[in-house]
């Protein structure tokens, strides 16, 4: 087969690079979570509340993480195991990496994994993958603290606006994503509508029965019912 570049793509050196980058992410997450926990207790949050938040995130992230895993298996076949694992743990997104790799191949007049792709094509894909997403890290690294200043200046002493802005941003961002599914008038629309309905119902039940823990499960349940409804539709 012409796919000998994959032997190099699975080179030990790439594993070393991948492990270092993944460790940076783990280090940052653990450090931030520890600080959040201790500061949370100091500013009056209860351990019980923070545990509920943690549990909800673990439950919620299982489904989409598994979806990312399915995407990773496809990506492994294109750019090798260490870099697929690295890109989907650091910076990357499952829909994005394959496209970036393809852009690198396209300008060489080939396609990822094709007979004439080879090592040069692979190298170009790696450059395009790295260049194509480096800006997110640079912008977030340099300007995130400025965004908080900006928000606080806009809100001023109207602290009540903080949650109004956040809820508006959630509805705006996810309203856009939901609309993209709705305009298909097809299975994705079914998944979105069922997901939304299940969520609304579970939240109402949680509110009226006083069973707050239902909220931790709500999104996990909503996404499973939503995605299977789409199949059975």
């Amino acid at each position: 087969m012409e796919r000998e570049y994959l032997a190099i793509a699975n080179d030990f050196g790439f594993w070393v690079i991948a492990v270092i980058l993944v460790l940076i992410v783990v280090f940052q997450s653990v450090l931030f979570m520890r600080k959040a926990w201790s500061t949370g207790l100091e500013i009056g949050l209860e351990a019980k509340q923070m545990k509920a938040g943690l549990r909800s995130a673990v439950i919620t992230s299982l489904g989409p993480s598994f979806a990312v895993l399915i995407g990773m298996v496809a990506l492994v076949a294109l750019i090798g195991a260490p870099l697929a694992w690295m890109r989907l743990s650091v910076i990357g997104a499952v829909m994005y990496e394959g496209y970036a790799a393809e852009c690198g191949a396209q300008v060489l007049g080939t396609t990822v994994g094709a007979g004439d792709y080879g090592l040069v094509g692979f190298a170009n894909s790696l450059w395009v993958i790295a260049l194509g997403s480096c800006g997110w890290l640079l912008i977030a690294g340099l300007f995130t603290h400025k965004l908080d200043d900006l928000r606080m200046r806009i809100v001023g002493d109207r602290q009540d606006l903080l949650s109004v802005i956040s809820v508006g941003a959630i509805l705006g961002a996810f309203g856009f994503q939901v609309s993209k599914a709705l305009v298909t008038l097809s299975r994705p629309a079914v998944a979105a509508i069922v997901g939304a309905l299940v969520m609304v119902i579970m939240n109402l039940v949680a509110k009226h029965s006083g069973k707050r823990w239902l909220k931790e499960w709500s999104l996990g349940v909503a996404m499973v019912l939503g995605m299977f409804s789409a199949v059975f539709f």
Binding site: G13, L21, I24, V25, Q28, S29, F32, K35, G44, G53, L54, A57, T60, S61, L62, V68, M72, V73, L83, I91, G92, C103, G104, L108, F122, A123, W127, V128, A130, L131, G132, W136, L137, I139, G141, T144, D148, V164, S166, V167, I170, L171, G172, F174, G175, Q177, V178, A181, A192, A196, L197, M199, E216, L219, A222, M223, V224, L225, G226, V231
Partner: protein, 225 residues
Amino acid sequence: MPSKESVFNEKFQKPIVFWGMATCLLAFAMSFLPPLYLWIKYHVLPGAGYIVAGFALIFAYSGPLWFVEPLAYFPILGVPGTYMSFLSGNISNVRLPCSALAQEAAGVEEGSREGAILSTLGIGASILVNILILTVGVGLGAELVGNLPAIVHEAFKYILPAIFGGVFGGFVTRDFKLGAVALLLAILALKADLFPIWITIPLCVFGTVVIGAKLHNRKVGPPER
């Protein structure tokens, strides 16, 4: 006793900004190691023209998003959540839902200082789960995924709209009117098809935020001058 704001700023925000900046910039530099390694060890370097041409292709898609996404998602993620999300990626499908839901499940106000704490915990947990699953999966993944029943494979094609619908449903109960506004705005923008995605996303987010603030002000009275 120090105020909540000063505790938050001194013990949390300041070290977070330092380490957030350090980790993101370090990862920025290190993300170039794979192509550099290929160059140094195997002496493979495509011509600069090819690299630039490939970059131009991807930049047309991702370049504007570099600027727009941190801005649009910041009100949900908060300071630590922004550093974490843009370092770890998979933002709209994992980080944003986990951030929003952790704040909701703990019953704190979104966007408040307490909200930032919960967003940090939620995103951190989602990152660790994600890495754990991928790390186990990088060894067993192909086999595991290959053995899934066909129907499960099929269902996973629709997980994204199901998540997005779920998050939307979770917050639309706060303000049905604003939810309708958000959908209308997005459907109009998508149907008119006038703008590229990097305009549509901030248009939907900030359009909804501004209208939400106006509706809120009408309820509580105009801001005092």
